[in-house]
Every structure is written in C-alpha cells, then in structure tokens.
Symmetry: C2
Subunit: 555 residues, 2 copies
C-alpha cells in the first residue's frame, strides 16, 4: 500500500528546529522558534560578513496536467547535495492557504522528497500570509477612511488601484461593491479582492533587502490617482510606517527541514505571472551566506519563473545562478508533443521527439544568459527504455548534461547523480552573465525583447488601454523599471492550448499595471485571474482532524 | 518625563518563556514557543487530573470616557497575589488588531501593570485572530461555492447569515454586494464583513472544551435557510472538519508574562455585547488547574461582561467565581453622577454620591448570584481625600469591602491590600451560587429576568422582526439556549446617554440572532455595530518602526 504525502510527513522523525538551525550555522540568538519544528531567522541581527556559496536555480518546461515535480526534484537535489557536500540549504517559496482548501496538492514536494512539517507549512505556517493579508487590508481601510474623513489628498475613488486581499479561493469576491448602507458606512465604489499571494505587498516583501528597504518600497506604492490625475502613494497617506510594522516579522525567513534533515528556508511566494514568482531575496541570500550550495526554484516554466528570476530578482540579489537545472518528465514532453493525457503511459517516441522542442527552447533560453544548464528527468515507472535513450540523445546532442532522478521514491538517493552533475557544472568556468535587456530600453522594446528572445514570438499587439498606460508610464518617469509579463504558464504563447515550441506568433498586451513598490511593470497578456475559485468538490470536504489534533485528507 | 506604556514594555527584562512556563508548572513537552517570549500550551496533551484553584473575576462599573482601568487592575492584582501566595495565573482576553490601527489604547494593561511583550500581543501575537479570519472566510467561500456549483442543499442566497470577517476597522465593508462580474464569478448577493472578534467562530473557540467539542459546535452552526425555510448547518455542508483544522492551533491557550513575571494566559477575545465577552474556557480552566489563584476578567461593565460570564461561561467552565472584584474610579463615578468630562479633576462630592448609584447596582447584581464582592478603586492623583472618604463610607455601608489601588504607578505593590482582601474573601464560606435564570424558561422570560434583575428596567418591547425570530426559535427547538443581550456598554438602559442607575425604563429588542455553535441567542437592543470604523486621525498615522525593528507610536 503506497503511503500518501501527509502519511509520510506525519511518520517522519523530525529533528528539533534548534538542531537544524545549529547544523545550518545560525547562532541561537537569531533563531526564533515557532513551535518545535519551525523557526524564523532574525537575519537583521546577523552582523557577520560572509562569502556567498554556489547558487543552483531549479526551473522546468511549461507545466502540463501530467505533472513535472519541480519542487520534489528541488528537495531531492538539496538532500543529495547535502549528503555530497555537507553544506547545502534549500530556499523555496512558502505555500498559499487558499488552494489547499481547493485542489489537492501541496507546495512542499512529494513522496520521500518533502519539506516538513507539511501540514503546518501548508496551513498557517508562521503567519506570513496572514500578516500580508492584514497589512494589505489595513492599507485599503486607511484609503477608504481617508476619503470618508474629508479626502485631503483629493483621491479620485474610481481610480483606486489598491485592491483588498484574502489568502483564499473565493470567486465571489473578485468583483464587489463596497461602502453601501449610507453616509456613516463609507463611500460606495467598485472594488475587488485578490488572493494574498497576488498582492503587490507579497512581491515587495520578496524583493526587500532589509526593513529600511521594505518601508521605502511600501511608501512608494501608488494606490490611486488624485482628481488631477497625479499618482497618490502610501507615503502621501503617511501610513508606510504602520504597514511596515505589520510586516516586520513576516520579513524574517522561515526555517524548516526536509525529511532527510537538510535545512530549508521557505519564505515568500508571489505569483509567477502577475509577480516575479520567486521566494524572498532575504532567504536566498541567507542560504547563500550560510551554505556552500543554495538550491532555489522559480514558479511555472522557465519562460515565466526563470526569466523573472534572472531579470528581476538577480539584480536585487546581486548574485547570478551558477547552474540552472531544468526539470522535465517524459510524460509531460509527450503531452507537449501532442499525446493525449490518458495515453501518456504508452510509449510514443514521435510525440517525445516533438515535445522535446519545448525543452530545447527552454535550454537555449537559459544558455542565452550564459548560465550553465543541466537537465533533470523526473522518472516515472511508465518511461520506457527507448524513450529514456531517445531523450538522452536529444539533450546530449545539444552539449547539455542530462541526468535521471527518482526522488519521489528514493529521496536524496534518487538525485545523487544529479547532485554530482550540478557540482561539476558549478565548478566549470563560464562566460559572464549576460542580461536579457537593459532597463533603460523603452517599455515596448523590453517587452519585444522577451517575446522574441524567450517566447519565440514575432509580434506584439497593444490594446488601446495598454497604449494609454504606456503613455502614463512615460509621463510619470517609470519607463526604466524592469517588466514582469503575466502570461499563461502552459504555453510560450498567450494561448494555453498552443503547446510545444510554437513560433511566428503574436503576443497581445491587454493592459499594464505599475508596481512602483515592487519595482516592476506588470504586462498583462490575455486573461490572468488574480483570485481563484474553488472546484466542484473542494479538498475541504475531505479534510478532517481527530480529537488528538491529527490531520487527515490534506493531500 | 513620564514613560509611555510601550516604552515601559520595551524596557522590561522579560524572562524566557520557557522559564515562565516552568514557574507555572507546565511540562516542557506541552510548551510550544512562538519566539522567545510567547508560547502556546498544548493542553490537549495534559492528561493530569488536577484540583481547581480559586477563581477571581474582575469586572467594573459601566465604562466611561474617563477610563476605569479594569485590565490594569487585573494585572496588578495578579502580580500582588503572586507575591502573596506564590501561585497565581492571569487569564485574559487577547486583543484585536483592528482597533490598534484606529484608536490609541491597548488591551494589555498600562503603566507598571502590563502584560508583555505588549507590541507583539497587540499585533499578530500567535496568530489566533488570523486563524479565525481564515476559518471564517474559508467557510464563506465554501458556501458561495456550493451555490455556484449547483446548490444541492437548496440554500436560499438571501437567507445566508454567515458573514465574512476581517480583524480590521473598516466601515466600507459593513455592507457590500459580492459575486458581480458574470456567471464565472459567483452569484450576486448582499453581504457584509464583521470584525473577526464579533464572529461566531470566536465565541465558539472561547466556549470549546477540546477539539472534539470545537468540531461539534462548528458543525451545528446555522449558516442559512434552504428554500423550504429549514436551517442549513456547517455539518450539512460537510466542511466542519476543514474549518476545525484551521483552528486546531488557535484553540491552544497562549502564555505570556506580566512585567513582574507572573504567568499570563491571553486567549480568545469575543465582543461583550453580541458575544459573551470573556477569554477562553480552556485558558481559564488551565489557570485554575495550575495555580491556586486564577484572575480573569469580563468585557465592559458587570451588566454585560459579568452577567454573561456567570450565565453563559460559568456553566461550561464548571466553576463559579470565589470572588468578584468590581473596579471603579472616582472620576468615572463622578462622570456617572453628572459631572462634565473636562471638570473631572475638580472635587465634587455630590456628583460622586449620585454616580455611586451605578456602582451600587453592580454590587447588588453580583451579590444576587451569591458571590462575594470586593470593590477596587483605581486611584488617580486628582482624587481628593474627602472624595475617597465618602466613597469608602458609601461602599462600607453596604457591608462590602473597598480597597484603594495604584497599580499603574506601582505595579503589584499598588494592589497588595487588594490581594489581601481577595484572599480573605475567597476563604470565607458563602451561600451556594444562585443562577439568574433557568435555561428552560421561555426566551422572553429569560430576557425579562435580565432586564428587571440586572438592568433595573421594567418593560421589554419587541419589534415585529424580533417577534418573528422568536417564533423561528420556538419552531426549531432552540428556546432552551441561554441569552446573550447586545446592549450599549455605557448604560444600564439601551440608551448610551442614560448614566448612573436609571429605573422604570423600557428595553427595545430589535432583532435576535441564533448562534447554535456558540450555544446562545443574541438579543439585539438598539444599534450594535459589528464592524467599527477608523477615526479622523487613525493611530496608524503615528505608528512607525526603525531599521532595527523597534516600534514606536503604538500607544
């Protein structure tokens, strides 16, 4: 009988978090325990100067319903690297609670390559999401209160871009009207709720280098225009201090462990379309400073997550990856090559060859930044010998190392070859990191660079709304911010149905949102939902807890 | 230069929370630290049988803008009792974050009678409020999703009584329309947000004896009627397990300390009008089991908080108070006696004599339950010798002990006489506790008993809406639940302007809400707001944090 992820997690013998912290090299004075298996690391009290270790970025092909297992491979790789080198730390995103109640499937890896305690991590963890929700909605309440109390800043209520947020899947809150019920209960206006991980504050938290930087970024967030059309910021409202206070503990990275007791920092988790999709700069930096190898990942496929890691996070982090690991499965490549979901267990070399083009483009994209690439195949029992051989050949022909892994079943032992390949890759000398675009290019030029060089498209069309926003960006002097393209994760194009490696296509820009706190311009293509809904049979129906507090049905 | 509360708190030398836990007698195995100065106590893992100590309930006269300092006296009394007896524990409510951003003034005592760390406690603490918010809104999302996905239970959308909640002061969310934006974004309907502490889940958490009881109560919460007018419960939706999972850690009492290192459990904080206004049964029970003296308090004046403590909480707790301490100030009594707020520093014996009638009725009310009463005067520098003498006489003439305290300035030392009086009072034999009403009385009879015996009114009028609800209560067999009257805290009447001790008045019942999970019927009199607003100059404007994480301007 195969054990479920939560059963494996609950059966795990965790080490006390103080012991993990000690192993990681954290002084006891900067470790703030949250229960016995979680802690926050007060990195602001760490005044030591340290050399940074090697940075390993794990990314993947475009995700498919077949599953790729990027987080699972990240965890297994870290366990293998820890065994090989004795000094490795994971730096991952922390999960959002909303989807936990909706779709089964956690954000803590799977099988024997998990971060634990998975139930705590997937529920309230150390409260970071809740602090972000509270900060987000406190700011919203302060905006509406400002208008109610006389509106000294002349905020135009219809221009308010600061939405409310909940860490929940709740489609009924996407579009709401607030302030009803008469003059003592606010000014009526249209509003909406985003899921907390889609809020600008989440992106701000993940890109802030310290409390000072956090407050500076919060103060420069634009929340509306005034009646003259000029931007109004949090700083104008004079509440940047209060909002920062609400996030001061959330800014500290969270320490947990893998099933094999490798230290893992899980901290921050912005969307990888309307935000940059990486864990916090502070956690990655901490992992780099305390370990010889830091393993981190970026959301969705390499066209979204890795591109944003390299173009948005890397300049703030001040460190480029020493190796990029691209995760793929033979199943997912066959799906990308046209095979139906229900037929994926059948051998199909033709579909694999076709689907390989998706992997091929991601490899070339990463190589264009001058970062070394290793391909990790997350093996399934249905993979045939001929399929494995073919894919080996196709990747090796590109001069790229390809390694099979089986971490779900074997944990770190299933990634020992991958760890070896990664260590070799990071010690090779390679050309200097090559940025994709110069921030001083025009916004359109930046967009077109990503579309042609990363997506493989040949044209960008702008809606009239987008053109209007481009002018506003220009007028306000925001053109030199990097761009963050919100696009479907399933395709290189803006159409989720176009799999593989399409070319000669047009990307349609519908709108742009300026995130002056996070420091990037969101470029919206197609319809990107920032508040998910629950499915017909939500996971909540199967979740339960017994009288002793033991949870079941979580995954 | 007088120090502010936060300056005193930040200068405090706290003991490590493990040391406080040890002092309180908690086995290290049931202590879950949250940082170095907070912990949750896993009371479910405490399988020891223990005798209960003495229960001291602190309550007060009707609150006034002059301030009474009930929490401050509770803290000082606990410190004095700890010094006198060596075995005392505080059991207080935990504060709501919403008001912290609005009005200055915390819920952790003041001066040298504080619970610390006051900034953490007043901000996110151990996440209980956030867990309640998440649980409340997850349930709301599941209700709307049920309707969206086919509505198998035939829920009538206009009958949904389960509102959303945020731990925030946000008047613009009192009345909203949700589900706009077309068929993929829910079913449009009127809705509203309450502040989290006003949610039924908060009351449920505070009245639950263990996880099993918590889940049972959650499952029986009525969230709407179906199209046949029959109640629909959380159990019908089959999500009681998931909602309980979200509250399993929040149910564990939180341990902190006073400035003088007395162990303090701060846990739960329901409103004292639309809910019962006391900290959790589990925390009070834990304090009683581990200490010879447990000091607890109830919200607002004795007409609201203490009445509900005695009629709603006591039957669940299985323990009646061994002494009730009624806190008053000479300033507040003079205000009750007709003196203007700006003149309160002037001596006025006539006003004091008039205002004493408020205290007198509260004393008689408490005595009617056969519980011993001690009056504690929270001294101010403006109190004159003649005023002190007069009040002493008036209270002593009732055969009741009156003790002056000065805990704001002197901490526990300012309440040593009060501690002595309390110990004496709890050791006196007294008649058996006398319940105010039998739950089997009709709802109207229960209401009229409270109005005549506690408030001093002589008539109750019911709106047609209220009459309709009374019939519904009868039809559904809910009549034998205790009642929880929501009334202004400023007066014995339902008119906040009628101070002192009015009599021959009518109480107007506008509506009734059935809280089947909490297990009481809320009786609404007048207009009770369940979502506060922010003031013209919110406290948030003055709150800040420096680059090292030190907070200023909180209080």
């Amino acid at each position: 009988m195969m054990k479920t992820d939560i059963e494996i997690s609950q059966a795990a013998q965790m080490e006390p978090i103080q012991k993990i912290a000690e192993k990681a090299g954290f002084d006891a004075a900067i470790v703030e325990p949250y229960g016995n298996s979680k802690a926050k690391i007060n990195v602001f009290e760490d005044h030591t100067e340290r050399k940074m270790g090697k940075l390993v970025l794990v990314t993947s092909i475009n995700p498919t319903p077949a599953g790729e297992g990027k987080s699972t491979v990240s965890v297994g790789l870290a366990d293998a690297l820890q065994k090989l080198t004795g000094s490795t730390m994971l730096a991952l995103r922390e999960p959002s609670l909303g989807p936990v109640m909706g779709m089964k499937g956690g954000a803590t890896g799977g099988g024997y390559a998990q971060v634990v305690p998975m139930d705590d991590i997937n529920l309230h963890f150390t409260g970071d999401m809740h602090a972000l929700t509270a900060a987000n909605n406190t700011l919203a309440a302060l905006i509406d209160n400002h208008i109610q109390q006389g509106n000294d800043l002349n905020i135009e209520p219809r221009s308010i871009s600061w939405k409310r947020a909940l860490d929940i899947n709740d489609r009924a809150l996407r579009n709401v009207v607030i302030g009803l019920g008469g003059r003592f209960s606010g000014v009526p206006r249209e509003d909406g709720f985003d899921i907390t991980v889609a809020s600008e504050l989440m992106a701000v938290l993940c890109l802030s280098k310290n409390l000072h930087d956090l407050k500076t970024r919060i103060n420069r967030i634009v929340i509306a225009n005034n009646t003259d059309g000029k931007p109004v910021t949090v700083g104008d409202l004079q509440v940047g201090g209060a909002i920062t206070v609400l996030l001061k503990d959330a800014l500290k990275p969270n320490l947990v462990q893998t099933l094999e007791h490798t230290p893992a920092l899980m901290h921050g988790g912005p969307f990888a379309n309307i935000a940059h999709g990486c864990n916090s700069v502070l956690a990655t930096q901490t992992a780099l400073k305390y370990a010889d190898y830091a393993v981190t990942e970026a959301g969705f496929g390499a066209d979204l997550g890795a591109e944003k890691f390299l173009d948005i996070k890397t300049p703030v982090l001040g460190k480029t990856p020493d190796t990029v690991v691209i995760v793929a499965t033979i199943r997912a490549l066959k799906y990308n090559g046209g095979q139906k979901l229900k037929d994926l267990t059948n051998e199909n070399l033709e579909a694999l060859k076709n689907g390989f083009k998706n992997l091929q483009r991601h490899i070339k994209n990463m190589q264009s930044y001058n970062v070394p690439v290793v391909v990790a195949i997350n093996q399934f029992v249905s993979d045939t010998e001929d399929e494995i051989k073919l894919l080996d050949q196709l990747v090796s022909d590109m001069g790229v190392k390809i390694v099979n892994t089986n971490v779900w079943e074997h944990g770190g032992a299933g990634a020992s070859d991958l760890a070896q390949a990664v260590v070799e890759s990071t010690t090779e000398t390679h050309d200097d990191f090559k940025r994709l675009y110069d921030n001083n290019l025009s916004v359109k030029d930046k967009i077109e660079t990503v579309v042609s060089n990363i997506y493989g498209g040949n044209k960008v069309e702008y809606s009239s709304k987008a053109e209007k926003k481009l002018k506003e960006i220009d007028t306000n002097g925001w053109s030199n911010l990097p761009i963050c393209i919100a696009k479907t994760q399933y395709s290189f194009t803006d159409d989720p149905k176009k799999l593989g490696a399409p070319s000669d296509f047009t990307i349609h820009v519908s709108d742009l949102n300026i995130k002056t706190g996070a420091g990037f311009i969101v470029v919206l293509t197609g319809n990107v939902l920032t508040m998910p809904g629950l499915p017909k049979h939500p996971a909540a129906l199967d979740i339960d807890v017994d009288d002793n507090g033991k949870i079941s049905g979580l995954f």
